[in-house]
Symmetry: C2
């Protein structure tokens, strides 16, 4: 096993060597722009870690790992068009820097390139790797559609929210691990067990993101807090609050969700206080603990090297911790 930073270097090195064509420039420049903005590279690192931990050789998983990262970046690129997002990783989004058509088409190309990279695995596991990858992609599109459908709904339940983030966020962590395990030639139940570990980790990870968006330190969180509250984003916190709030609390929450002429800081502060009063922060922390524990319990049962298990456990704890 290598360290996270070593796996990160392997991923960045593989991405740097992709050697895309130069023309047509408006097709390929946005891809290079997107892929060289960095980021945690969590998903491809998971693929490489899984391969090594399951007794395989991560050198055989480099292209597939890069493909998983390319796929993740493709979904962000198209999501940014759909959400009209202006900034990603501190830089203008592709549809802002170029235009919508460039973002649509270069995103399509990234999906095809991602599939081509993921297909560069040993022949023995090719069909199953592709099947995992394509099924996961469909789940992610379903998650994105649910997320967009939620915007115009006021009856979303916590259960539906958890289903949505499982699809939109968690299954790709599962897929990344499963592909790594398949490349290592691990038996199917081991691949599935590691997949489940990563999915539970992903759920805790996303809930942590919801919590940090309200209570995080902007310096360590990497972006301004309060964005979800200002956008009335249906997170675990808002949905729980809607469920729990009664009488005056319910009226106040409705007020902040519908009133357009409010001072942003006032709204963030008031809704945060409401969340604390209703105890939704504790609920979120409890849910994070539950999913984290499921991930760690599952990990204990996955057949892998001790070193691999320690590395996964350390990463899980880091991902769900309070200050990442």
């Amino acid at each position: 096993m290598r360290t996270y930073e070593q796996y990160l270097d392997m991923v960045n090195d593989t991405i740097a060597r992709l050697a895309l064509p130069e023309t047509p420039a408006r097709l390929y420049q946005p891809i290079t722009y997107t892929m060289t903005q960095g980021g945690k590279r969590l998903r491809p690192v998971l693929t490489l870690m899984a391969t090594d931990a399951m007794g395989g050789d991560s050198a055989l998983a480099l292209q597939a790992a890069a493909g998983v990262e390319m796929f993740h970046n493709f979904t962000l690129l198209h999501d940014d068009v759909m959400d009209r997002a202006a900034v990603r990783r501190g830089q203008p989004t592709v549809h802002r820097k170029w235009n919508d058509n460039v973002a649509i088409l270069s995103g399509d190309a990234m999906l095809t390139l991602a599939t081509g990279l993921v297909a560069q695995v040993p022949g023995a596991c090719l069909a199953e790797v592709l099947h995992t990858f394509n099924r996961t992609a469909m789940e992610i599109y379903e998650g994105q559609q649910h997320d967009m459908d939620f915007e115009s709904r006021n009856d979303v339940t916590v259960e539906q929210y958890m289903h949505m983030i499982r699809l939109k966020t968690s299954v790709l962590l599962g897929c990344a691990c499963r592909i790594g395990a398949l490349i290592a030639g691990a038996p199917d139940d081991a691949c599935q067990a590691l997949y489940d570990v990563a999915v539970n980790t992903g759920l805790a990870f996303q809930l942590r993101d919801d919590v940090l968006d309200v209570w995080g330190d902007p310096k360590t969180f990497g972006k301004a807090t309060g964005g979800d509250i200002l956008n009335n984003k249906k997170t675990f916190l808002l949905i729980s609050a809607q469920q729990l709030a009664q009488d005056e609390d319910a009226s106040e929450l409705r007020y902040w969700l519908t009133e357009k002429k409010v001072m942003p800081d006032f709204k963030v502060q008031a809704v945060t206080e409401l969340y604390e009063r209703l105890g939704v922060r504790q609920r979120a922390e409890q849910a994070i603990d539950t999913y984290t524990q499921r991930a760690l319990d599952g990990l204990a049962a996955v057949p892998m090297s001790d070193e691999g298990r320690e590395a996964f456990a350390a990463l899980i704890n880091r991902l769900v911790s309070r200050d990442h």
Copy 2:
């Protein structure tokens, strides 16, 4: 070998059995809407024909053929968003019937579904089939980007136009045939020879489309003529005319290309007459004959059954003929 209509039935039957999930409705309904609008199904029929003609069993190529058709429909769906097209096959386009976000996301899902279908081939040819499919997809995106880049250029050459339509239209016919041949287990040079036949056919086919858009009979062509002229679309005809026109002809062509306040019928009639005076129609017919002959000469050298060769030759002649 079966008839075109029999292969068409096999394709439509396979597509009807795809059994997509019902929810989220806004993800899957646009896919069913798009896939059940019919059309010639030329590409999947080519796949099935190629498999049978090369001594294989087209029953093993059904999913891959449906995948090629799904991919083709995905490109049309996203192209319609980029071109702001309102109508496709006599029906509202997906982005008009739903909205842009639905069109982007359901298109993405079609690309993934297409890849999953294409991957349902015998394991022995899987890697090569996928490689062909992914490479072709990248070429098609390049062709679409060139086509969009051409809109704002006035120096496009006939050579660049032919390169663009090769990428945007022809290579998918080649890919469809090559995948069919690979499923039949044909040797690589035979697969490549059939690919070249289909690419040359595709070039002639697209040039015929350019000609029919000006001189076709709207009853048999299936859509109103003159659209390319009204939109100043850079076709073989317009590019050739710009190259050939001198003095007064050049001034007149410039007038029709730049003047906004013109009666549509007048513009179509005047530009059509200019094309005839400059001889660009003959040039297009000559080019069609050249590419058709290359396709037929190539076909003679492809190792396949006599029955297969006759079926391909009949189809090529039908595709490039004057009144399809």
